[in-house]
Assembly symmetry: C2
């Protein structure tokens, strides 16, 4: 069997535990012992699946990202026109599953580690490129290319901004507040057309429906 990838499921469990740990205790507080405890297993066992802590954190980074990616994919599958695709990205980034202080804190901790680790950099670059193309595509069919690029970059900045503030728990950042900021930004180049309005409602609803289907609390 070539190289049994050491029980993929088990590896995923540990990546998840590491991600959880990161969210709760930050980078400094994420020790192998703590991750092991979180997973209900011994420290040595974790090292059996990940040769080094660096590897484990890399997996945690991938895991956190894949959660968000799944969210985007699910909404993208529902989206039927450009505006719906734009709002799919926005709503996915505000989904109650991900847009929470602990998760944002984990994201912040990993982001801080990125500049000092080549591998993390590569992953981050991929994440960035994907989000970018998810936005620039639909926006191109709603405006000229230059506007699409600029709006995409600005949307990404706002995403990073609201996530940062969510992580810092500053000014009580909520999804509703974030949504208002995205609307404001989009207003800069786009009128509130019926299509846009409908897309906003549809995607917001789709995201909510998915949460309910998975039994995740959703207060907005």
């Amino acid at each position: 069997m070539g190289r049994r990838p050491l029980s993929k499921i088990r590896r995923k469990e540990f990546a998840r535990a590491a991600h959880l740990c990161l969210a709760q205790h930050g980078l400094a507080g994420t020790t192998l012992a703590r991750v092991a405890e979180q997973a209900g297993v011994s420290k040595a066992s974790v090292l059996h699946y990940y040769r080094t802590k660096e590897d484990l954190l890399e997996a945690a980074l991938r895991h956190g990202n894949s959660t968000l990616r799944d969210e985007v994919s699910a909404l993208m599958r529902v989206a039927r026109d450009p505006w719906q695709r734009v709002y799919a990205v926005i709503e996915a980034n505000l989904s109650p599953r991900a847009f929470r202080p602990p998760i944002a804190q984990g994201w912040l901790a990993l982001s801080a580690a990125v500049p000092h680790n080549r591998q993390y950099q590569r992953i981050q670059t991929v994440i960035y490129a994907r989000t970018r193309s998810n936005l620039v595509g639909p926006l191109r069919s709603l405006s000229d290319a230059e506007t699409a690029e600029l709006m995409t970059d600005a949307l990404i900045s706002v995403i990073d901004g609201v996530w940062t503030r969510c992580g810092l728990s500053l000014g009580g950042m909520t999804a509703a507040e974030a949504r208002r900021q995205f609307e404001l930004l989009l207003d800069a180049r786009f009128a509130d057309s019926p299509e846009r309005h409908a897309a906003r409602r549809l995607m917001s609803e789709a995201c909510r429906a998915q949460m309910l289907a998975r039994g995740i609390p959703c207060e907005d």
Copy 2:
């Protein structure tokens, strides 16, 4: 003499060294030994001025912030109308002195530490409140209160967003690119009036002039 505050100048030097270290090596790479080396002094000497590493990092956080605050103050002193005050905040945050990957990386590292330290939280809250009031004031006299609040929050998000991306060195974030995003956002509620146009040019020029006066390279 009551309690000589242990040579304020010396303390500041060490805070600066710590901040530099943080920018270059991240939180994990910032050890007392490294900070001491940076300052050309022994590890024990650093501990003589700061009782604990936590204290030192707190000072580094304050230091990094005070640099930015000075930038804002200097431009604010020049500003004569609301638009000029708005652009004073924006330009200060994009000043070539501060808006550089290493500095942004340091900011990122400290931000990641914030959720796990009360004292850092307090400082961060103060910084946030000040930036907020610096923006909401002038914007209130340019629009209704609600718009001013929303625009302020969105501007802050973009600031955090572009800083994050600057720290991650993603998509080659430059001050010029950031400026375009701020313009886009402001377009959402404000026409490009002559006052706004003039203010933008004036503050950009004022910032540049200050850099030149201090001999800091300024490529845009």
